[in-house]
């Protein structure tokens, strides 16, 4: 009784210890962000072609690089640079939501107070992608730009942001004929993670179900083929013909008929078989004898050898 209580207490202590460990680990992980170094930090490289600046980068949660084009109408696109998230880190935003880095977009040659349209174009964006803007001069520095998300051919999405010189999206907030916009495309990290989880888990069911159907279908064909082959090799009709064609059994010279000879042979066979078997075999399907069980275990053991990991 005491031992059982002790075991029960030990179990409870173990469960508590595991819970405490996990909680500590989670706190440590979250404080330490992604364990110190951000392994997936996008590092964009920029190239310019006429009025378009293109960023090439390896986004978070991707193994292949993507291209993001920046264009401006109503002004001149002077420069686009990458920006570290640490500068814009606030408790209400998660850097994981910004899969494709943050950018500083500089626009000039404007009449003071004018409005421009900035287009950010990529096939990496989806219809729900937003463009969020950071302005540290505001009380709430992070805000949604309410960018229009337009469909383009070849699954390309275009985010169009209206920015006014000196407005809240302009980092310097001065009507000086120059706009500096800080921000980046934003997708919901958890939405993506959970959505893709659901799709991919059921994807496995779909793939294996298709394979299963293929196997059931091909299995039926093979079984039918095997059945046909078996029927072809043991046609009862032809056997009858053979039996009919066979010569009639002759009566032996000493007067013993074929039927008698068969009966004698069967009796001898049963007699000697009986001598060979030490125990009569039980044929009851419910309770096989130890002898049968041992045989089965041996067969299973031999089959098992094929899959024995140490034999690999």
């Amino acid at each position: 009784m005491k031992t059982n209580r002790l075991r029960f207490l030990l179990k409870i202590i173990w469960v508590w210890l595991i819970c405490v460990f996990l909680m500590m680990a989670q706190t440590a992980c979250l404080v330490w962000a992604t364990f110190g170094e951000d392994q997936e930090k996008p590092q964009p490289e920029f190239t310019r072609k006429e009025k378009t600046i293109t960023a090439k980068l390896l986004p978070r949660a991707k193994s292949t690089s993507v291209l993001i084009d920046f264009e401006v109408s109503g002004g001149e696109l002077i420069n686009v640079q990458g920006m570290d998230f640490e500068k814009a880190d606030r408790p209400d935003v998660d850097h994981k939501d910004f899969k494709s880095a943050l950018f500083v977009i500089e626009i000039g040659s404007l009449t003071p107070g004018a409005e421009v349209k900035i287009s950010v174009i990529s096939d990496f964006f989806i219809r729900s992608t937003q463009f969020w803007i950071f302005n540290q001069k505001l009380e709430t520095p992070w805000m949604d730009s309410n960018a229009q998300n337009l469909d383009r051919p070849d699954r390309v999405q275009e985010l169009v942001i209206n920015v006014k010189d000196g407005g809240p999206f302009d980092s310097d907030m001065n009507e000086n004929g120059r706009i500096i916009l800080m921000g980046g495309p934003k997708d919901s990290f958890w939405g993506y993670a959970l959505g893709t989880l659901f799709i991919r888990y059921f994807g496995i069911f779909i793939v294996l179900s298709i394979l299963m159907l293929g196997m059931i279908f091909s299995g039926k064909i093979f079984q039918r083929m095997e059945d046909k082959k078996t029927k072809a090799t043991s046609k009862p009709a032809s056997l009858t013909v053979q039996v009919e064609k066979a010569e009639k059994p002759e009566v032996a010279d000493n007067g013993i008929t074929a039927e008698m000879a068969t009966a004698v042979a069967a009796a001898l066979h049963l007699h000697f078989s009986g001598l060979r078997a030490s125990h009569p075999m039980s044929v009851s399907p419910l309770r096989p004898t130890a002898w049968a069980q041992q045989g089965r275990a041996q067969i299973i053991g031999e089959r098992l050898m094929m899959y024995h990991r140490n034999k690999r």
Binding site: A25, T34, Q39, K96, S209, I300, Y307
Partner: protein
């Protein structure tokens, strides 16, 4: 030549050319970790074929100043770095292991009872639950995927996916995968008993139909067509797996099949084990992450076992001939350990109930299922 000069020379030699003054405490800890895994492999026989080279790799790579895992002055990789670079980084070894596994696998039980493929899919539940769990702990999406696949209980798949998505976790993931695969007989039975009644454990299944040689020969071709068309990202693993199996079943390349099963497999296992062990340098391994990975790996195995058995329970609501739920736990691949566990649990409930061949179906389906899950993750990050 003064004594001072001689003493300085000796000091210089000791400091720059011997390891003793450069040995750090954390390297000693890693050597103890190596000894622990060598002990598990040698004394406890836990996956010795993999844990011996991995353990020895950990042991070797943690010697100070040893030219094993770096690059030479001319930029050439040192010994273990070369194994790692050309074998794992270039993604050659895991598909080659699949080639050998394919050559060793008899798909007969799966072909005879294709319904068990669904069990293999259901047993991937833990993979996806762990994926979410690790994200809560600050792992990145790629890291979460590579940790989650541990529950698929397939060493080469884990190594392949981790090398592709999160190479910094390779050592911890591979060790967790192989350790838990070896511990399947300890982990699974309590969950199996918890999720089944005695009556359910005594369900006798109909004997499997015989599978013709022609059917076995066509299986790798059909399976490769369907799987690779649906998940092209899994082609390196599945392509090699089915190629190995085709060599086995066609019967005209016995030499190649034997080589893939034995010599090639043994060579690759040595290279793979040493490469994986060599990634576990003290500065990389001694952190929170490996501990969490081991924790999540265990959770992953438990949920995968649960998922497989649950899938059988659901299937039993619809099928005429009932399936023994004990074979559900074999849906985690761990071939053939998981199938053996199903068989032994079946025998405990009824000494006349042999489930081994029935359990081999979901067991092989688990291999395909975990490779499919890996393919899904790879496709997700493309």
């Amino acid at each position: 030549m003064s004594w001072d000069y001689v003493l300085e020379l000796i000091t210089n030699i000791l400091v720059t050319q011997t390891g003793i003054p450069n040995l750090l405490f954390k390297q000693v800890i890693m050597m103890l970790v190596a000894f622990f895994f060598l002990y598990l492999a040698v004394a406890k026989r836990y996956e010795p074929l993999l844990l011996v080279p991995i353990g020895f790799g950990i042991f070797l790579v943690n010697f100070p100043l040893a030219p094993l895992m770096g690059y030479s002055e001319h930029g050439y990789p040192e010994l273990l770095r070369a194994f790692y670079k050309y074998g794992v980084e270039w993604e050659i070894i895991p598909p080659m292991i699949f080639l050998g596994l394919g050559a060793m696998t008899d798909f007969g039980p799966l072909i005879a009872n294709p319904k068990t493929l669904i069990v293999g899919a259901g047993a991937q539940l833990g993979v996806f639950i762990t994926y979410i769990g690790t994200l809560f702990f600050g792992f990145t999406l790629k890291e979460a995927a590579s940790v989650a696949i541990i529950g698929g209980a397939d060493g080469p798949t884990t190594i392949y996916l981790t090398a592709k998505l999160a190479p910094q976790l390779l050592g911890a993931n591979a060790l967790a995968a192989y350790s838990y695969m070896a511990m399947v007989p300890l982990i699974q039975p309590p969950i199996m008993r918890l999720m089944t009644t005695r009556v359910q454990r005594r369900i006798k299944m109909v004997q499997l139909r015989p599978v013709s040689a022609r059917e076995k020969l066509l299986f790798p071709l059909v399976a490769a067509i369907l799987i690779i068309l649906l998940i092209p990202a899994v082609a390196p693993l599945m392509g090699m797996f089915m190629f190995g199996n085709f060599m086995r079943e066609c019967g005209v390349v016995k030499r190649l099949s034997d080589t893939a099963q034995q010599s090639l497999m043994n060579i690759i296992t040595i290279l793979l084990g040493l490469s994986v062990g060599a990634t576990m340098k003290a500065e990389v391994f001694l952190s929170w992450k490996p501990l969490l990975i081991f924790g999540f790996g265990l959770l992953d195995f438990i949920v995968c076992t649960f998922g497989g058995i649950l899938t059988v329970h659901i299937m039993n609501l619809f099928v005429k001939e009932k399936i023994n739920p004990l074979i559900g736990s074999a849906g985690v691949s761990a071939v053939p350990m998981a199938a053996r566990v199903s068989n032994s649990e079946g025998l405990k409930a009824d000494p006349t109930n042999f489930l081994l061949m029935h359990a081999m179906g979901p067991n092989l389906a688990g291999v395909i299922g975990s490779a499919a899950a890996a393919g899904m993750f790879i496709a997700m990050f493309q």
